[in-house]
């Protein structure tokens, strides 16, 4: 991380913050590997790589995550299936829920976080077309 991001009085901790989030997934044609995409942007997440988001110090930017699974479920009114239609409107096949490790500059919110960096650490459940196949493929490729 860029040490110029550290400001006087900042609380510096060693470690990462675990958070819950959801992504979109899409099965590309021609047997290519499954694509994992952010929910809002078309940012693609790749196996073995971390993602750097836009600066959390600006507006509502940064990589979002919820503090608990209950917070995530609250945001989707307890029904992740309702996200599937929205993902398919964006030409995706479904939605996957999992956890991420967050680090760098982090803003704590009442129900979640906005962070500078993230990498997936688990994939918990999936909804949509070929959802179990998507879950298995993501676990194999990302969590080696």
């Amino acid at each position: 991380m860029n040490f110029l991001d550290i400001k006087a009085g900042d609380n510096i901790e060693v470690g990462t913050q675990v958070a819950f989030r959801f992504w979109r997934y899409v099965f590309p044609p021609h047997e290519a590997p499954l694509r994992l995409l952010s929910w809002v942007s078309n940012k693609r997440w790749h196996p073995g790589q971390f993602v750097e988001g836009t600066s959390p110090d600006v507006g509502e930017q940064g990589i979002h995550g919820y503090k608990t699974m209950d917070d995530l479920m609250w945001s989707v009114h307890g029904d992740p299936e309702r996200l599937v239609v929205r993902s398919q409107m964006n030409e995706c096949d479904g939605v996957i829920i999992g956890t991420v490790a967050l680090w760098g500059v982090i803003w704590d919110h009442a129900r979640g976080y906005r962070a500078q960096f993230a990498r997936p650490i688990s994939f918990i459940s999936s909804y949509g077309k070929r959802s179990q196949e998507a879950l298995a493929e993501l676990r194999t490729s990302f969590l080696k």
């Binding site: 550290i6 982090i106 704590d108 009442a110 962070a115």
Partner: protein, 41 residues
């Protein structure tokens, strides 16, 4: 994913498993090559 409530606190997290920086290799110092005086440089 926007329903995370109001911002409360800013902090900096540095992961333990930071990738190790590449070692800096300092080349050995070699003595300067002496050119004999009677040879054109």
């Amino acid at each position: 994913m926007a329903e995370i409530g109001n911002p409360e606190k800013r902090r900096i997290l540095v992961p333990e498993e930071q990738p190790a920086p590449s070692p800096v290799v300092v080349p050995e110092r070699k003595p300067p090559v002496k050119v004999p005086e009677d040879q054109p440089v």
